[in-house]
Amino acid sequence: MSRALASAVALAVALAVLPWILGNTFYVNLSSQILIYALFALSINLLSGYAGLTSLGQAAYFGGAAYACAWLVNRVGLDQTTAACAAVLFGTGLAALFGVLSLRASGLGFLMITLALGQIVWGVAYRWVELTGGDNGMRMGARPSPLGLDISRPMPFYYFTAIVFGIALYCLWRLARSPFGASLRGTRDQPRRMRMLGYHVWLVQWVAFVMSGFWAAVAGVLFVYYNQFVSPITLSLQQSAEVLLMSILGGAGTLAGPIVGAIVITLVKNVVSSYLDRWNTLLGVIFVVSVIFMPEGIVPGSLRLWRRFTGAGTAAPKPVAKTS
C-alpha cells in the first residue's frame, strides 16, 4: 500500500510541476491533450485490456458526449454543470444500449458490431446537418468555470484536466484491484470456468462496457472543453482506432500502458502533423508494425526486458489459453 501511495504522490507532484518545467503555452496545451487522450485510452482499456473485448466504436461515447455537451450548452442553453452531467449520462446511456447489442456476439463479431454501431453514430453526426451542423461541426460557447474558477486559459485548464484525470485514475486503479476487476479478468481468460463458478459472465462484461463508456464520455466532455469545438472526426473510425492503438501499443490490461500509449501517439501525431499531413498512413504503419513486432505493448515489453536485465524474478507469466 505504501508503495502505491508513494507512486501516487510522485505522479501528483509530477503532474503539478510539469507545466512549470515546460513553461511554453503550446506544451501546456499539449499536456492537457495527452491527459484527455490518456483517460480515453484508459476507458477503452477496461474493455480491450481487462475484459478482452476489442471495441472499434469507442469514439461513439467520447464524441457522443462531446456533441451532447456542445449541443446542450449552445443550442438548448443549459448551464454548464447540468450540460456536463447530461452529456456524460448520454454517453454512458449510449454505451449501455450498444453494450446490450454488441455483447450478443463475442470475439471478432463483437468487434464488427461495435465498429458498425460507431460508424452509424458517425453517419448521424455527418448527415443530420440540422441537429449537428454536419461536416462543419459545432462550436462550444466557452469553457465552464467550476466552483467559480476561471479555466479558460491553458494553465488553469491543464490543472482542471489533471485533477479530473487523477480522480479517474484512482477510480480505475481501485477497480482493477477490486473483486470486480478480478472477475472481469476471469471472464477474459476463462469464461467457461467463470460461468461454472456462478458468475454472470454477460453481466460482468456489460457492466465493464458501461463503465468504459462512462469514462470515455468524461474524456469526451474534457475534449470539447479543450477544443471548444466538435466535428464528425471526433466520432470517426480513425478516432476509435487511434485510441485502441494507444491502449494496445502501451500494453493492454495494465494501467500504465494506455497512458504511455497516449503520450507516444499524441506526441508523434503532433510532431508529424507539423511537418507533413500523412498522419493516417503513419497511423496505419504504426498499427501494422506494433501488432507484428510488439504484440504485448511497450510497458509489459519493457518490464520483461528490465526483469531479464536485472535477473530479478522469473519471466512474465504466459497468458492462460482460452478454452471456449
Binding site: L111, L237, R278, I292
Partner: protein, 287 residues
Amino acid sequence: MQFWVIQTLNSFALGGLLFLLSSGFSLIFGLMRVPNLAHGAFFMLGAYIGVSTMGQVGGNFWLGVIGGGLGVAVLGGVLERFILRRLAGNEQGQVLVTLGFAFIIADLCLVAWGGDPIPVPAPSYVNRPLFFAGLAFPTYRFVVLGVAVAMAVVLHVVMDRTRLGAMIRAGVDDMQMARGIGIKASQLFTIVFCLGAALAGAGGVLGGPITSAYPGLDADMLPLALVVVILGGVGSLLGAFVGSFAIGFIYNFGIALFPDLAYVILFLPMVLVLVWRPQGLFGRLLR
C-alpha cells in the same frame, strides 16, 4: 410513380454493389475468422485503379473493371501471404493489421488521385435511358444488377458444385476437421482472400458510374458491408445476397425519403437481427 420506380431500381443496383462487396467479406470472415477491415478500402482502390486503367486503354469500361479487380486481387494476395500469414492464430492481430492497411490504402489513394471526386464514365452504349410504359429507366442500373446477379450465380455454382467450393464450405464449417482430412488451408486462404479482394475491387469500378471515386468512399461502404454481414450471417453466400438487397433497399429509400436519418434507419434492421437472431439470418454460430 417515376420516383418509386427509379428508387426501386437504384435500390437493386446498390444491393448488387453491396453483394459484390460483402460476399467476399463474408467468405473471408467465415473461412479465416478475420473481418477484413480493409475491404472498404479495396472497393475504393478498385474504383481508382479502374478509372486509371480506362484512361490507359482508351476508355474501355470492362477492361477497367478487370483492371480494378486484378489490381486489388494482387494487393490482397500480398497482404494475405506476407502479413496476415505471419500472424496466423492471432485473429485480433490480423484484424488490426487489416485496419492499419485500410488507413494506409485510403491515405495513399488521396496522395495518388487527389481529393476531388473522379467521375467514372459508364460504357457509352448504356448512357441513354430505357423507355418503358412511359417511364424512363437509367440503363446502367440494370447493367450493375445484371453483373451482380450473374456473379451471384457463378459464386453459387462454384461454392455448391465444385471441389474448391466444397473445400471452402468445409473450412467455414470446421477448419480443424478440414485440415485433418488434408485440405490445404493456406492455399485456400490465399485463394479466398484474393477472390474477395477481386470482387471488392471490381465492384468499386462497377459502382463508379453511380458513386464516382472519391476519398471517403471506403468509409461509406465498409459500414454497409458490415451491416449486410451482421444481417445475413457470416460465411453464408445466401445471407450476403439477401442482406445486400435488404440493406440496398433500406439505405437507398432511407436516403431518398429521410436524408438526415439514413444511418439511423440502418440501425433498426441490425438491432432486430441482433436481438432475435444474433448469428444472422442465414449464419451459424461461430465457434
